[in-house]
């Protein structure tokens, strides 16, 4: 596998300009000769499909939901960063670039991050023009809020529904292109394989979820905008349908998968309430501005009513351990501290996996009405889910899997190691390194979709020329047969266990050994357990009904099967990365005080995994990362 990042020449601030000039263009009249497939309709996919359609390409866009407006980008709450410097507080493109590289714990590619910071300003303009109702000041200008990991106020937002509004903006542009006939939308379709001919991506195989029909679609290029793989842990803040299948199928067809072990764990989620739990709900991080995190000092007090536990019997562990940042310590650090407290037997609530987030002090200082004004909707959401009133009793929170920084390896053009197959948004690996800063996911999805791919895809198409594979070609037939064979295999096992039961078990293994803290012994154990689970899955799975109509169990089984394979890959990556960085914490690599120890000498690279065939261990490649513009430094929050 050759990893050529294709980073353009020149100083960092000029690379993107230089690249746009040196990229080949497709003549407007020729664009209609090219067919492009876009898989996924979230911020990255929706923006890409709309923009490419507008440019004159023929686009086919696919999503598994019943309409493109439901992609999980919709659930992002906080906001979107942009280096507009509207607040005149010293922000700049270089500062956003710097914050993102540092926040990513020096494991991202500088050139990509700088481009992202440059494009961030165009995104806001574009979204405003589409009618996204961003928050405004009384004078009518755009409002900003501040967010973790930055000292400037650069986050644009639409109440607590920024992701929804940005997605609906992309969806409206996409709808316009659908009406114009430039984009054909295929809802309730799931991509089940990538068609590769002579090393180039030439199409996909889908299953129509509504009627079970399998079909091949051929094109000049395939864009995978299929999100992250957080659901490998079963319980995460992802939508229940989010899955790794499309990206994993591309990996099986030769696309390198980079840094799967980089997973982000969000510290403030509502804890698991029982075995029935199907997903976890995030509570905005902003709550930590006024809430104080604590657990009882003594184990025997864990079951007591928290209001009856006296002040001196409480351990405000974040304030104790990180006096200068206190309750606002970064995501990875506060997550790990919560785990430590619970591992010590001092967790609260169901199963002892929870810590208190207490607003008592803030309420007595500011009054209940101020707290209600600031966080009323969150308290209401908490009440709905837990049945508890957080004005009267501290909230219980616990960390949960939230975002995945790893993904398909892409070069500067967002192309994977399979020419013609591109990956955008959370599905690729490039911009966030080992840890993503808040309000940066939306920025990256839209940057890739609106402003990067329209240029870089032209360069690829102009060099290869139009030439869509015939639907009757043997390669297409072979892929189709392969997919049908896999479906038949799932329905013919006829065992006794449901796909969900395997998914749950996989999630437990992943969370236990590849969650917030990892070590060699645990990861090896996880790999063994996952392999056993997979063997059992292949013998004992039950999928009732047939594949020729809507069959939710069949859909689930296919996704779980890929998660079982992918989970092992994630653990292998975590095992080989013998350092702690960002979201990846290896217990063997920490300071005496329990802080992460990065190893820049040996691990300042992206690990890229190449599939070697069933039963073989995948091959690990490296893309060395260079830091010419931001100096490598240790993150400290003491």
């Amino acid at each position: 596998m050759k990893l050529d990042s294709k980073i353009p020449e020149g100083p960092i601030a000029e690379k993107w300009d230089n690249h746009r000039f040196s990229s080949k263009l497709v003549n407007p009249a020729n664009k209609r000769k090219f067919n492009i497939i876009v898989v996924g309709s979230g911020l990255a996919g929706g923006a890409a499909a709309a923009t490419l359609g507008e440019l004159g390409y023929n686009v086919d866009c696919f999503c598994y939901q019943d309409t493109p407006r439901r992609a999980h980008s919709i659930a992002a709450q906080g906001g979107i960063n942009a280096a507009k410097n509207y607040q005149n507080d010293g922000d700049s493109i270089h500062r956003l670039f710097y914050d993102t590289v540092k926040g990513g714990d020096f494991r991202s590619r500088e050139a990509n991050v700088h481009r992202l910071a440059q494009i961030s300003v165009n995104i806001i303009d574009q979204c405003v023009a589409q009618g996204v109702p961003f928050a405004r000041e009384y004078g009518g200008l755009l409002a900003n809020r501040s967010f973790g990991g930055a000292q400037v106020s650069r986050t644009f937002y639409a109440r607590g529904q920024t992701g929804q509004q940005l997605l609906l903006g992309a969806y409206s542009s996409l709808s316009r292109q659908i009406a114009a006939g430039q984009v054909k939308m295929h809802t309730r379709h799931e991509m089940l394989d990538l068609i590769v001919v002579d090393g180039h991506a030439k199409g996909i195989i889908t299953r129509n979820l509504a009627n079970g029909e399998h079909r091949a679609w051929t094109a000049d290029a395939v864009l995978l905008c299929t999100g992250g793989y957080g659901n490998a842990y079963y319980l995460s803040t992802n939508a229940v349908g989010c899955n790794v299948t499309a990206a994993f199928r591309a990996y099986r067809q030769g696309a390198g998968f980079a840094n799967p072990c980089y997973t982000q764990i969000h510290p403030t989620c509502i804890p698991v309430s029982g075995d029935h739990q199907s997903k976890l709900t995030l509570m905005s991080e902003s709550l930590r501005n006024d809430g104080r995190v604590w657990v009882p000092l003594d184990r025997e007090n864990c079951d007591k009513d928290p209001n009856d536990i006296e002040e001196e019997l409480r351990d405000y562990y974040l304030e104790r351990k990180y006096p200068s940042f206190g309750n606002l310590a970064p995501r990875d650090i506060s997550s790990r501290s919560a785990k430590e407290a619970c591992d010590d037997g001092r967790g609260v609530g169901q199963g002892g996996r929870g810590v208190y987030l207490d607003f008592g002090d803030a309420i007595s200082r500011l009054g209940e009405s101020t707290i209600r004004e600031r966080y009323g909707n969150l308290f209401q959401m908490y009440e709905r889910i837990t049945g508890e009133n957080a004005y009267k009793r501290p909230m219980r929170i616990y960390p949960a899997i939230h975002y995945t920084m790893g993904g398909l390896w892409v070069d500067y053009n967002l192309m994977t190691t399979v020419p013609g197959c591109f990956a955008l948004g959370e599905a690729n690996f490039s911009d966030h390194g080992a840890n993503r800063l808040g309000a940066s996911a939306l920025m990256q999805g839209l940057s890739d979709g609106y402003f990067v791919i329209p240029y870089t895809i032209g360069d690829y198409l102009a060099s290869t020329g139009a030439g869509v594979l015939s639907p009757d070609s043997p390669e297409v037939k072979e892929s189709l047969d392969k997919v049908k064979g896999r479906i038949d295999q799932l329905t013919s096992i006829k065992g006794k266990r449901s796909a969900r039961s395997y998914h749950k078990k996989l999630g437990q293994i992943m969370w236990e050994y590849a969650g917030m803290a990892r070590n060699e012994k645990g990861l090896n154990k996880a790999i063994g357990e996952i392999q056993d689970l997979r063997d059992d899955f292949n013998k004992e799975l039950m999928v009732p009904g047939s594949g020729d109509r809507l069959n939710v169990e069949l859909e689930r089984a296919g996704r779980v099967k890929d998660f079982l394979d992918f989970g092992e890959l994630l653990c292998r990556d975590a095992l080989e990365r013998k350092e702690s960085c960002g979201g990846h914490f290896r217990e063997e690599f920490q300071t005496a005080e329990g802080e992460a120890t990065r190893d820049d000498e040996n691990f300042a690279h992206a690990a890229v995994w190449e599939y070697q065939g069933r039963e073989k261990i995948p091959k690990r490649h490296k893309e060395e990362l260079y830091f010419d513009n931001v100096k490598l430094a240790v993150r400290s929050y003491k």
Binding site: A47, T51, E54, Q65, D66, T67, R69, R70, H72, I74, A75, Y86, Q126, V128, A129, Q130, G131, P133, A135, R136, E137, Y138, G139, G140, L141, L142, R159, Q161, Q165, Y171, S172, S173, S175, R176, A179, T237, A239, V240, S273, G274, H276, S278, T281, L282, M381, R384, I385, T386, G387, Y450, F451, P454, S498, R500, P544, G545, R549, L550, V552, E553
Partner: protein
Amino acid sequence: MNLTLKVWRQSGPKDSGQFETHLIEEVSEDSSFLEMMDQLNEQLLENGIEPIAFDHDCREGICGMCSLTINGFAHGPEDSTTTCQLHMRKFNDGDIITIEPFRARAFPVVRDLVVDRSSFDKIIQAGGFISARTGSAPDGNAIPIPKEDADKAMDAAACIGCGACVASCKNASAMLFTSAKAGHLNLLPQGQAEKDARVLNMVKTMDESGFGNCRNYGECSAACPKDISLDYIAKLNRDHAKAKIKNLFS
């Protein structure tokens, strides 16, 4: 808690469908309604029965995919709540719960509790957008927008496109949905250029898609999980009348 569920089963769009009764035991009051449905499906699977199909995705009340009519109410009896945010502690041990799909002529059943809401997409495609070519936008602060207008636009833009408004209306009218999108865009300066065409085309498509007429019953707004106000329907009616009159004289 133990419950009796009367659930709609329909094997496909052409099947006439019927209710099936299932008993479910030991439901945790902390589980969400959809988690209770998951539990029921696992129970059916144990007996080798195909699970009940229903739509769901984010399970945090924002994607708009879940769509159950529970005891006759779209998204169930709790106000301002989607099905996925409804929790079992709102029910009592021994309850009999009736579960149906969102019913409307414009939302044909695909299977069991899954309906086809693509007619909503068609309404948006007819005019629920501002034509802003990528890359052609002026600076975001070039047009100041009074906070009050931006807030009103945001209130309308909060619509999640679930279709509870249609399912609750005895005429199966889509006026609340259509007016929310038209209202959001028509309230903003960026949306003025296409305002007339927008309302005419969206309403025309809505009518052609098989939705009924609005009679101002207000059930739609009462059932709306995002509390979209009836005011937007009034605004759409005004904008539509103005556009028609302008057309007449142009």
